[in-house]
Protein backbone atom coordinates (compact mmCIF):
# COMPACT_ATOMS: atom_id res chain seq x y z
CA UNK A 1 0.00 0.00 0.00
CA UNK A 2 2.83 2.33 0.86
CA UNK A 3 4.50 1.41 -2.42
CA UNK A 4 1.27 2.14 -4.29
CA UNK A 5 0.96 5.49 -2.60
CA UNK A 6 4.55 6.29 -3.44
CA UNK A 7 4.00 5.27 -7.05
CA UNK A 8 0.88 7.40 -7.25
CA UNK A 9 2.67 10.38 -5.82
CA UNK A 10 5.26 10.22 -8.60
CA UNK A 11 2.69 9.96 -11.42
CA UNK A 12 2.78 12.99 -13.70
CA UNK A 13 5.98 14.16 -12.16
CA UNK A 14 4.43 17.35 -10.87
CA UNK A 15 3.05 16.64 -7.40
CA UNK A 16 6.27 16.24 -5.41
CA UNK A 17 9.02 18.70 -4.66
CA UNK A 18 11.32 19.26 -7.61
CA UNK A 19 14.48 17.18 -7.57
CA UNK A 20 15.67 17.66 -11.15
CA UNK A 21 16.82 20.93 -12.68
CA UNK A 22 16.94 21.14 -16.46
CA UNK A 23 19.00 24.07 -17.68
CA UNK A 24 18.90 25.52 -21.18
CA UNK A 25 22.25 27.37 -21.52
CA UNK A 26 20.88 29.85 -24.05
CA UNK A 27 22.50 33.07 -22.83
CA UNK A 28 19.38 35.14 -23.59
CA UNK A 29 19.08 38.63 -22.08
CA UNK A 30 16.30 38.52 -19.49
CA UNK A 31 15.45 39.88 -16.08
CA UNK A 32 16.50 37.45 -13.38
CA UNK A 33 13.60 35.34 -12.20
CA UNK A 34 11.33 36.07 -15.11
CA UNK A 35 9.37 33.18 -16.65
CA UNK A 36 11.14 31.75 -19.66
CA UNK A 37 11.40 29.04 -22.24
CA UNK A 38 14.61 27.89 -23.80
CA UNK A 39 15.93 30.35 -26.35
CA UNK A 40 17.48 29.27 -29.61
CA UNK A 41 18.77 26.59 -30.07
CA UNK A 42 16.75 25.18 -27.16
CA UNK A 43 13.29 26.35 -28.22
CA UNK A 44 12.01 22.81 -27.82
CA UNK A 45 12.40 23.21 -24.05
CA UNK A 46 9.28 25.11 -23.08
CA UNK A 47 6.24 24.86 -20.83
CA UNK A 48 3.98 21.97 -21.91
CA UNK A 49 6.81 20.13 -23.73
CA UNK A 50 6.74 16.42 -22.87
CA UNK A 51 9.61 14.88 -20.91
CA UNK A 52 10.33 11.40 -19.63
CA UNK A 53 13.02 9.75 -17.57
CA UNK A 54 14.14 6.26 -18.48
CA UNK A 55 16.24 3.92 -16.40
CA UNK A 56 19.22 2.00 -17.74
CA UNK A 57 16.91 -0.67 -19.18
CA UNK A 58 14.88 1.93 -21.07
CA UNK A 59 11.87 1.71 -18.77
CA UNK A 60 10.06 4.98 -18.24
CA UNK A 61 10.18 5.76 -14.51
CA UNK A 62 8.68 9.26 -14.65
CA UNK A 63 7.13 11.51 -17.24
CA UNK A 64 5.31 14.78 -17.49
CA UNK A 65 5.29 18.16 -19.13
CA UNK A 66 7.79 20.89 -18.48
CA UNK A 67 6.59 23.75 -16.32
CA UNK A 68 7.44 27.38 -17.02
CA UNK A 69 11.17 27.99 -16.73
CA UNK A 70 12.83 30.63 -14.57
CA UNK A 71 15.67 32.88 -15.72
CA UNK A 72 18.88 32.39 -13.76
CA UNK A 73 22.13 34.30 -14.09
CA UNK A 74 24.47 32.94 -16.74
CA UNK A 75 27.51 34.59 -15.17
CA UNK A 76 28.57 35.34 -11.64
CA UNK A 77 28.74 39.04 -12.37
CA UNK A 78 26.23 41.85 -11.99
CA UNK A 79 26.56 44.28 -14.90
CA UNK A 80 24.11 46.66 -13.19
CA UNK A 81 21.40 46.58 -15.86
CA UNK A 82 17.94 45.01 -15.64
CA UNK A 83 18.37 42.51 -18.47
CA UNK A 84 21.39 40.32 -18.13
CA UNK A 85 22.67 37.17 -19.83
CA UNK A 86 20.67 34.28 -18.40
CA UNK A 87 19.98 30.61 -18.71
CA UNK A 88 16.48 29.16 -18.45
CA UNK A 89 16.00 26.62 -15.66
CA UNK A 90 13.08 24.19 -15.41
CA UNK A 91 12.39 22.25 -12.26
CA UNK A 92 10.62 18.93 -12.19
CA UNK A 93 10.21 15.89 -10.00
CA UNK A 94 11.20 12.42 -11.13
CA UNK A 95 11.12 9.17 -9.18
CA UNK A 96 14.84 8.47 -9.02
CA UNK A 97 16.87 6.16 -6.80
CA UNK A 98 20.26 7.12 -5.45
CA UNK A 99 23.11 5.41 -7.27
CA UNK A 100 21.05 4.47 -10.32
CA UNK A 101 21.63 5.92 -13.76
CA UNK A 102 18.90 7.42 -15.86
CA UNK A 103 18.43 9.49 -18.94
CA UNK A 104 16.14 12.43 -19.62
CA UNK A 105 14.34 12.48 -22.95
CA UNK A 106 12.86 15.67 -24.38
CA UNK A 107 11.03 16.15 -27.71
CA UNK A 108 14.29 17.05 -29.45
CA UNK A 109 17.95 16.53 -28.83
CA UNK A 110 19.85 13.52 -27.59
CA UNK A 111 18.78 11.78 -24.36
CA UNK A 112 20.76 13.24 -21.48
CA UNK A 113 22.36 11.27 -18.64
CA UNK A 114 20.83 11.88 -15.25
CA UNK A 115 21.79 10.76 -11.76
CA UNK A 116 21.01 11.90 -8.25
CA UNK A 117 23.68 13.59 -6.23
CA UNK A 118 22.77 14.55 -2.67
CA UNK A 119 19.12 13.99 -3.58
CA UNK A 120 19.16 16.34 -6.57
CA UNK A 121 20.02 16.06 -10.23
CA UNK A 122 20.88 18.65 -12.81
CA UNK A 123 20.87 18.33 -16.58
CA UNK A 124 22.27 20.91 -18.94
CA UNK A 125 20.89 20.76 -22.45
CA UNK A 126 23.47 20.48 -25.15
Amino acid sequence: MIAAAAALSSCGGGASAPNVAVVAPDGVLRELGEPCAGGEPFLYAHATAAWRVEDAAGTVVSSGNLPEGEAIAAFNHDPGVPRVPTFCRFELHAALSAGAKYRLVLPEGEPLPLALKDGKAMVTLG
Partner: protein
Protein backbone atom coordinates in the same frame (compact mmCIF):
# COMPACT_ATOMS: atom_id res chain seq x y z
CA UNK B 1 -43.14 41.19 -35.84
CA UNK B 2 -41.35 44.49 -35.40
CA UNK B 3 -39.48 43.09 -32.42
CA UNK B 4 -38.35 40.07 -34.43
CA UNK B 5 -37.23 42.29 -37.30
CA UNK B 6 -35.19 44.40 -34.89
CA UNK B 7 -33.68 41.29 -33.33
CA UNK B 8 -32.78 39.97 -36.79
CA UNK B 9 -31.07 43.23 -37.69
CA UNK B 10 -29.10 43.16 -34.46
CA UNK B 11 -27.96 39.60 -35.12
CA UNK B 12 -26.98 40.49 -38.66
CA UNK B 13 -25.08 43.54 -37.45
CA UNK B 14 -23.29 41.39 -34.92
CA UNK B 15 -22.30 38.88 -37.56
CA UNK B 16 -21.00 41.61 -39.84
CA UNK B 17 -18.83 43.06 -37.10
CA UNK B 18 -17.34 39.70 -36.19
CA UNK B 19 -13.74 39.59 -37.30
CA UNK B 20 -12.00 36.51 -38.54
CA UNK B 21 -9.67 34.90 -36.04
CA UNK B 22 -8.16 32.26 -38.26
CA UNK B 23 -5.01 34.18 -39.13
CA UNK B 24 -5.78 33.76 -42.83
CA UNK B 25 -6.49 35.86 -45.91
CA UNK B 26 -9.59 37.50 -44.41
CA UNK B 27 -7.46 39.07 -41.69
CA UNK B 28 -5.21 40.94 -44.14
CA UNK B 29 -5.70 44.72 -44.05
CA UNK B 30 -7.89 46.58 -46.51
CA UNK B 31 -7.03 49.72 -48.45
CA UNK B 32 -5.24 52.48 -46.61
CA UNK B 33 -7.90 54.98 -45.47
CA UNK B 34 -7.86 58.33 -47.23
CA UNK B 35 -6.06 61.15 -45.46
CA UNK B 36 -3.61 58.94 -43.57
CA UNK B 37 0.05 59.84 -43.87
CA UNK B 38 3.13 58.70 -41.99
CA UNK B 39 6.12 60.37 -40.37
CA UNK B 40 9.56 59.64 -41.76
CA UNK B 41 11.32 56.67 -40.20
CA UNK B 42 13.99 57.38 -37.61
CA UNK B 43 16.10 54.42 -38.67
CA UNK B 44 18.11 53.71 -41.79
CA UNK B 45 18.32 49.96 -41.12
CA UNK B 46 16.48 47.88 -43.68
CA UNK B 47 14.05 45.26 -42.36
CA UNK B 48 15.13 41.72 -43.22
CA UNK B 49 12.92 39.82 -45.69
CA UNK B 50 9.73 38.43 -44.25
CA UNK B 51 8.08 35.67 -46.24
CA UNK B 52 5.26 33.86 -44.61
CA UNK B 53 2.56 31.38 -45.43
CA UNK B 54 -0.55 32.25 -43.45
CA UNK B 55 -2.51 29.57 -41.63
CA UNK B 56 -4.79 29.18 -44.67
CA UNK B 57 -1.69 28.92 -46.92
CA UNK B 58 -2.01 32.45 -48.28
CA UNK B 59 1.51 33.64 -49.14
CA UNK B 60 2.53 36.99 -47.67
CA UNK B 61 5.60 39.11 -48.28
CA UNK B 62 6.74 41.71 -45.81
CA UNK B 63 7.79 44.05 -48.61
CA UNK B 64 4.18 44.25 -49.77
CA UNK B 65 2.86 44.71 -46.25
CA UNK B 66 5.15 47.60 -45.35
CA UNK B 67 5.12 49.20 -48.79
CA UNK B 68 2.59 51.84 -47.77
CA UNK B 69 2.05 51.51 -44.01
CA UNK B 70 3.80 50.47 -40.78
CA UNK B 71 3.92 46.84 -39.80
CA UNK B 72 4.07 45.39 -36.30
CA UNK B 73 5.54 41.88 -36.36
CA UNK B 74 4.78 39.74 -33.31
CA UNK B 75 6.97 36.68 -32.83
CA UNK B 76 5.07 34.30 -30.59
CA UNK B 77 4.30 30.69 -29.69
CA UNK B 78 1.14 29.10 -28.35
CA UNK B 79 3.07 27.62 -25.40
CA UNK B 80 4.59 30.97 -24.40
CA UNK B 81 2.76 32.36 -21.37
CA UNK B 82 4.21 35.85 -21.79
CA UNK B 83 2.90 35.91 -25.35
CA UNK B 84 -0.64 35.97 -23.99
CA UNK B 85 0.21 39.08 -21.97
CA UNK B 86 1.83 40.60 -25.04
CA UNK B 87 -1.24 39.91 -27.13
CA UNK B 88 -3.38 41.70 -24.53
CA UNK B 89 -1.26 44.77 -25.21
CA UNK B 90 -1.41 44.37 -28.99
CA UNK B 91 -5.13 43.63 -29.38
CA UNK B 92 -6.46 47.14 -28.69
CA UNK B 93 -3.80 48.71 -30.90
CA UNK B 94 -4.54 46.31 -33.74
CA UNK B 95 -8.17 47.34 -33.43
CA UNK B 96 -7.43 51.07 -33.18
CA UNK B 97 -5.11 51.06 -36.19
CA UNK B 98 -7.00 48.60 -38.36
CA UNK B 99 -6.07 49.15 -42.05
CA UNK B 100 -3.59 51.83 -40.99
CA UNK B 101 -0.96 49.68 -39.29
CA UNK B 102 -0.62 46.04 -40.25
CA UNK B 103 -0.11 43.58 -37.43
CA UNK B 104 1.23 40.16 -38.35
CA UNK B 105 2.00 37.20 -36.12
CA UNK B 106 4.91 34.89 -36.79
CA UNK B 107 4.69 31.69 -34.80
CA UNK B 108 7.64 29.42 -34.28
CA UNK B 109 8.30 25.97 -32.81
CA UNK B 110 4.58 25.35 -33.00
CA UNK B 111 1.86 23.43 -34.77
CA UNK B 112 -1.16 24.81 -36.64
CA UNK B 113 -3.92 23.31 -34.44
CA UNK B 114 -2.33 24.73 -31.29
CA UNK B 115 -1.81 28.11 -32.93
CA UNK B 116 -5.39 28.24 -34.22
CA UNK B 117 -6.75 27.53 -30.74
CA UNK B 118 -4.46 30.20 -29.33
CA UNK B 119 -5.64 32.81 -31.87
CA UNK B 120 -9.23 32.12 -30.94
CA UNK B 121 -8.56 32.21 -27.21
CA UNK B 122 -6.60 35.45 -27.37
CA UNK B 123 -8.63 37.57 -29.74
CA UNK B 124 -6.08 37.62 -32.55
CA UNK B 125 -7.68 39.34 -35.52
CA UNK B 126 -4.60 39.83 -37.70
CA UNK B 127 -2.79 37.56 -40.16
CA UNK B 128 -0.64 34.81 -38.71
CA UNK B 129 1.74 32.23 -40.11
CA UNK B 130 4.11 29.66 -38.67
CA UNK B 131 7.80 30.03 -39.39
CA UNK B 132 8.43 26.30 -39.34
CA UNK B 133 12.13 26.48 -40.12
CA UNK B 134 12.62 29.56 -37.91
CA UNK B 135 14.21 31.37 -40.85
CA UNK B 136 12.35 34.60 -40.18
CA UNK B 137 13.00 34.33 -36.46
CA UNK B 138 16.72 34.08 -37.18
CA UNK B 139 16.69 36.93 -39.67
CA UNK B 140 15.23 39.12 -36.94
CA UNK B 141 17.53 37.66 -34.28
CA UNK B 142 14.57 36.39 -32.25
CA UNK B 143 15.90 33.87 -29.77
CA UNK B 144 12.73 33.37 -27.76
CA UNK B 145 9.15 34.61 -27.84
CA UNK B 146 7.71 37.11 -27.33
CA UNK B 147 9.45 39.65 -29.51
CA UNK B 148 7.91 42.59 -31.32
CA UNK B 149 9.32 44.47 -34.29
CA UNK B 150 8.08 47.73 -35.77
CA UNK B 151 8.79 48.32 -39.45
CA UNK B 152 8.19 51.80 -40.85
CA UNK B 153 6.41 52.37 -44.16
CA UNK B 154 8.92 51.66 -46.90
CA UNK B 155 10.68 48.93 -44.96
CA UNK B 156 12.99 50.58 -42.46
CA UNK B 157 13.46 48.64 -39.24
CA UNK B 158 12.11 51.24 -36.82
CA UNK B 159 12.27 49.45 -33.46
CA UNK B 160 12.58 46.01 -31.98
CA UNK B 161 11.67 44.73 -28.51
CA UNK B 162 13.07 41.33 -27.57
CA UNK B 163 11.01 40.07 -24.64
CA UNK B 164 8.02 42.16 -25.71
CA UNK B 165 6.78 45.72 -25.48
CA UNK B 166 4.23 47.46 -23.30
CA UNK B 167 1.05 48.83 -24.78
CA UNK B 168 2.03 52.38 -23.86
CA UNK B 169 5.44 52.22 -25.50
CA UNK B 170 4.12 50.74 -28.73
CA UNK B 171 1.18 53.15 -28.73
CA UNK B 172 3.64 56.02 -28.44
CA UNK B 173 5.63 54.76 -31.39
CA UNK B 174 2.51 54.37 -33.52
CA UNK B 175 1.19 57.79 -32.55
CA UNK B 176 4.49 59.28 -33.68
CA UNK B 177 4.38 57.43 -37.01
CA UNK B 178 0.70 57.80 -37.94
CA UNK B 179 -0.78 61.13 -38.97
CA UNK B 180 -4.49 61.33 -39.64
Amino acid sequence: MRRWLLLGLLVLAGCGADQARDGGRDTLPGSLPAGVTFAAPTSTAVAPPLELSLLDSTPVEGARLWKDRPVVVFFFASWCSRCATQQEALAPLAEKYRDVVTFVGVGGQDKAPAVKSWLDAHDVTYPVGIDGGLQTWRRYAVRQPPAVILVAPGGKLERGWPGGVSRDVLAGQLERLVRR
